[in-house]
Amino acid sequence: MSESFFYAVLFLLLATIRLATPLIYAALGGLFSERSGVINIALEGLMLAGAFTAAVATYELHNPYLGLLSGMAAGAVVAFVYAVAVIRFQADQVVAGMAINFLMIGLPALISGAVYDSSGSTPQIDKAEQLPNYFNNLSIASLLVFILVPVVWYVLYKTPFGLRLRAVGENPEAADAAGVSVIRFRYIAVIISGVLAAAGGAYLSTGQSSLFTRNMTAGRGFIALAALILSKWRPIPALLACLFFGFTEAITNAIQGAPWAKMPSGEDIPVQFIAIIPYVLTIIVLAGFIGLSRAPKALGIPYRKES
């Protein structure tokens, strides 16, 4: 009994980490963008860009690391397009972000339909060419992300770059007066967010599974955004929020269709009610019931230099 209980806990823990991994990458990415004052609803699309490109590059080049790098590069390119739209042209950040999300559902399908004659998915990657796993099937991507969190924390709070980035998001006029280029910092921050979110996407298609399927992120970009809000735009709490969301997903997966998972009345446990916990929690926190969630002051406001 106790031994099987131990294994059940271990199983759930590992599943939590696996499911949280893409969320953590995306949330850290979103952190850079939003801390600089640019809303990033496009996280979902950036993840998809990374997932698709990594799957194709891994399949063609037979190397998951080249795949990962290609995915991250694709994330940077798409993020740059988004940055030009919202920074140069001051497009509405939410609308432009949604456009990127929809573009990244259609464009990969269009390309893979033309190249592989299958718009629903890319070809299967060999097991040996996927991102490798260590310790009980934990992907290298999961291990790396736990190193990434303290790195992001350090960059954000202990380096001049991080200080300026936060200043740009809080008080762009003052940052500008102190000689910091608001526009340049926002471009950099959005591109970093693209690279990181794409890394999360790449893990989905080359680590967790072995191919890219249409819209495979299935809302994870938005969950990462929710984690960011819950964490009040801070890296360590963001990690915890993502782990919590990964845990709810792990529970949902474990319960779904399992013969032992029955209510006392003998009916199925409705997993839908567990699945919506992250969303409900976000609404509650946003409404200020659990401490005030304060966004970076200049979030969502295009910067116009006074001349």
């Binding site: 809303i39 609803i41 397009v81 739209a85 042209f89 001051q90 497009a91 509405d92 939410v94 609308v95 432009a96 949604m98 456009a99 990127i100 929809f102 573009l103 559902i105 259609g106 464009l107 399908a109 269009l110 390309i111 339909g113 033309a114 718009s119 809302g219 938005f222 955004l225 929710a226 809000i229 009916e267 199925d268 409705p270 839908q272 009610f273 699945a275 919506i276 969303y279 409900v280 976000t282 609404i283 946003l286 409404a287 200020g288 969630s293 304060r294 966004a295 979030l299 969502g300 406001i301």
Partner: protein
């Protein structure tokens, strides 16, 4: 002059999107001219084509109006998708409970309905259910915004996921015919079916599901126009959208207007049920929406937040959504995703070119 500017920039965005899309098609290895011909050239050639195009346009008119009303109050409703799901389920629920639905469960007939009402009563009840349910689902983020200042964009995104999960739950556990492999409810009573136009128009083929929902959508455009521009309430709503603090100074309560705008917005999104549940499928089918809630944002934006613009933009989007099927079938490489790609690029360009046309300020808040 002003009107010209309003029309000019959306057109520039569409043309630019087609240029970019043309290059993408060229890179893929097909002829852009052929592809665009297939995309645009199959929509108005026959009564059948026109019927299908208008059928595709109907839900977009509802969601476009929905997003538009919120826009006019300075709010961005990303939640039309969730609101239309809730509305559709509510309409189906009333159609089952009051429509005399009898379900065949493993060879045995089971009565799932409380009563069987005539169409004159049932049809308005179903429509009202969709309006109320959608309105509540839109009103929640409106209330949260007014009361706590939490931003409607995040809340509506979250409520979309919640709506789809909850409606899925009720479908799966309570209203699905046992043994049915598809996630859909039992069929609604015949009295709740809104008549299809092919019953009145002999030249319209029987397989075109265009229903009375389409003229109803046009009527809603007119009503929304009257409401926004010809009534005191509409004036107050728009005043908040233009300048919330000035409106407040003028004696208008912005918080009240925000709740009203989001509730109306949700109701309009819920009305998609009229076209899809009462007019076409005659049940609630999970995943029935082709992301209409999201395309509604694009329709409102491209239609310059005016009911007439919404109608034109909806029909244009419908042309692309139906035309992509022909591109898929008759070109060697381009798949039907070309429509989605073009639509996405159009939104991106419209959003970018917004700075050159009239700028509409949004109410500030935390995202």
């Amino acid at each position: 002059m002003n009107i010209l500017r309003e029309i000019l920039w959306p057109l520039v965005a569409v043309l630019a999107a087609f240029v970019v899309g043309g290059f993408v098609i060229l890179l893929i290895g097909d002829n852009p001219v052929t592809a665009f011909g297939l995309l645009l050239g199959n929509s108005f050639g026959s009564p059948k084509d026109i019927g299908w195009t208008l059928f595709y346009a109907t839900p977009l008119i509802f969601t476009g109006l929905s997003v538009m009303v919120a826009f006019r109050c300075g709010l961005l409703n990303i939640g039309a998708e969730g609101q239309l799901y809730v509305g559709a389920f509510a309409a189906a629920w009333v159609g089952i409970k009051f429509g005399g639905t009898v379900v065949n469960v493993f060879g045995k007939d089971e009565n799932w309905s409380w009563m069987s009402l005539p169409a004159v009563v049932l049809l308005p009840m179903c429509i009202l259910a969709a309006i109320v349910a959608g309105g509540i689902w839109g009103g929640i983020p409106g209330y949260l915004r007014a009361k706590f200042g939490s931003h409607e964009v995040i809340n509506t995104i979250m409520l979309n996921f919640i709506a789809i999960a909850l409606v899925g739950y009720f479908t799966q556990y309570y209203y699905k015919v046992p043994g049915d492999a598809i996630m859909q409810t039992a069929e609604i009573g015949k009295a709740a079916w809104i008549p299809q136009l092919n019953q009145f128009l002999p030249f319209l083929p029987k397989d075109v599901p265009l229903s009375l929902a389409f003229p109803l959508a046009l009527l809603m455009c007119f009503l929304v126009w009257v409401f926004l521009w010809k009534t005191k309430w509409g004036y107050e709503l728009r005043a908040v959208g233009q300048n919330a603090s000035a409106a407040e100074y003028g004696g208008i309560d912005p918080k009240k207007q925000i709740v009203i705008a989001m509730t109306i917005s949700g109701s309009l999104a819920g009305m998609v049920a009229i076209s899809e549940v009462l007019g076409n499928r005659h049940n609630y089918y999970h995943d029935f929406s082709a992301d209409w809630g999201f395309w509604g944002i694009a329709v409102a934006l491209l239609g310059r937040n005016h009911p007439l613009g919404v109608i034109i933009a909806s029909i244009f989007f419908a042309v692309l959504m139906r035309g992509q099927i022909f591109v898929d079938a008759f070109t060697p490489h381009v798949s039907k995703d070309v429509g989605q790609v073009l639509l996405s690029i159009i939104i991106l360009f419209v959003a970018c070119l917004q700075m050159y046309s009239t700028r509409r300020r949004m109410v500030k808040g935390t995202v």
